[in-house]
């Protein structure tokens, strides 16, 4: 069975794994991990250029935006105004319209501030951005985001960088049932099996940063995540058996001696 491609805002992608570019030891390691992950989309952040060290390495020198789709984020933004300012700047760097909105409400748990997130989604959509929205796993809020023009719903599995895996499978399943938009688990995955579970729940993709970047062997973990996403997706498409409380022998009793 040939799977259809992941489609976000009319762009098609073969890989269902999106990776972040933060927390790596070096840009070189980051570039190698991206290659190993097979990801076609990477998230990037907008920050001040270091004007006192002109020779400092730049992300764009290691990851070619012509080959890999850059998805600018709004990391560190706590209001709609911050987020809009950041993404306007990102667009100015090279015309990026497909963006990841992330408006946080608490510096410790890094949960999304959903009122500001919703307001930002509306404003950015009106300005012509295609907004993939990091959000909590609340089906009602997911619906509001969809009405506001989001091009992808990206609920957290658990707090950003926590590695706890999906904490609320029921809510993810409910969001899956109610939306045809791309549903991408963003944040909180820890290991390859977490990525498989996300895909088996029917998600269209996963976004992973810390679980790869901070693994002891990021390059190998990137590959593990790639395979886990493929595996989980195939498992979902294949249609699992119904779970039973009792056993069902795999071998027939017919012809038993």
């Amino acid at each position: 069975m040939i799977d259809k491609k992941l489609k976000i805002a009319n762009k098609k992608f073969k890989s269902r794994l999106i990776v972040g570019t933060g927390k790596y030891k070096s840009f070189n390691e980051c570039a190698r991990a991206i290659k190993s992950s097979g990801a076609e989309i990477v998230t990037v952040a907008v920050r001040r250029v270091n004007i006192s060290n002109k020779n400092k390495a730049r992300l764009m020198d290691y990851i070619d935006p012509k080959k890999i789709t850059y998805l600018p984020n709004t990391a560190g933004c706590f209001t709609a105004e911050d987020a809009i300012r950041t993404l306007r700047l990102a667009r100015e760097i090279g015309g990026w319209k497909l963006v990841k909105l992330e408006v946080l409400g608490d510096k410790r748990n890094l949960f999304p501030e959903m009122i500001e997130t919703l307001r930002s989604t509306e404003l950015l959509t009106k300005e012509g951005f295609q907004v993939m929205v990091y959000c909590n796993d609340d089906p009602l809020m997911a619906k509001r985001l969809e009405s506001a023009g989001a091009v992808a719903i990206m609920p957290l599995a658990a707090p950003i960088g926590s590695g706890l895996g999906i904490q609320n499978k029921v809510n993810i399943k409910i969001i899956r049932k109610q939306t045809k938009l791309p549903l991408i688990i963003d944040a909180g995955l820890g290991q390859a099996s977490d990525a498989s579970i996300a895909m088996e729940l029917g998600c269209d993709g996963v976004l992973i940063n810390t679980a790869i970047a901070k693994a002891k062997n990021p390059i190998q973990m990137a590959e593990a995540m790639k395979l886990a996403v493929i595996s989980g997706r195939k498992s979902f498409l294949s249609g699992r058996i119904s779970p039973n409380l009792f056993g069902s022998a795999s071998t027939t009793n017919k012809g038993i001696i």
């Binding site: 250029v49 004007i51 984020n73």
Partner: protein
């Protein structure tokens, strides 16, 4: 040039001094920043990179020069 004639500006939060009629293009060149990898804000307004040679810096201008870094 007498130092008194220099104009104080703020670039990425750091104070700098430039000579009068110094353009935004001159500033980017002085900082050796590749124009195709950045965005520029002048007093919180995004600047069209094609027009930077026409913009002369004024006393107290606040300039932000940003680029992409790693992020999740």
């Amino acid at each position: 040039m007498n130092i008194k004639n220099k104009i104080k500006i703020t670039v990425n939060g750091k104070q700098m001094q430039v000579i009068p009629k110094f353009s935004l293009k001159n500033l980017i060149a002085k900082l050796k920043i590749p124009l195709n990898k950045i965005a520029i804000e002048l007093n919180k307004k995004i600047i069209d990179k094609k027009k930077i040679s026409k913009i002369q810096l004024k006393r107290g201008d606040k300039i932000e020069i940003v680029h992409f870094i790693g992020g999740g």
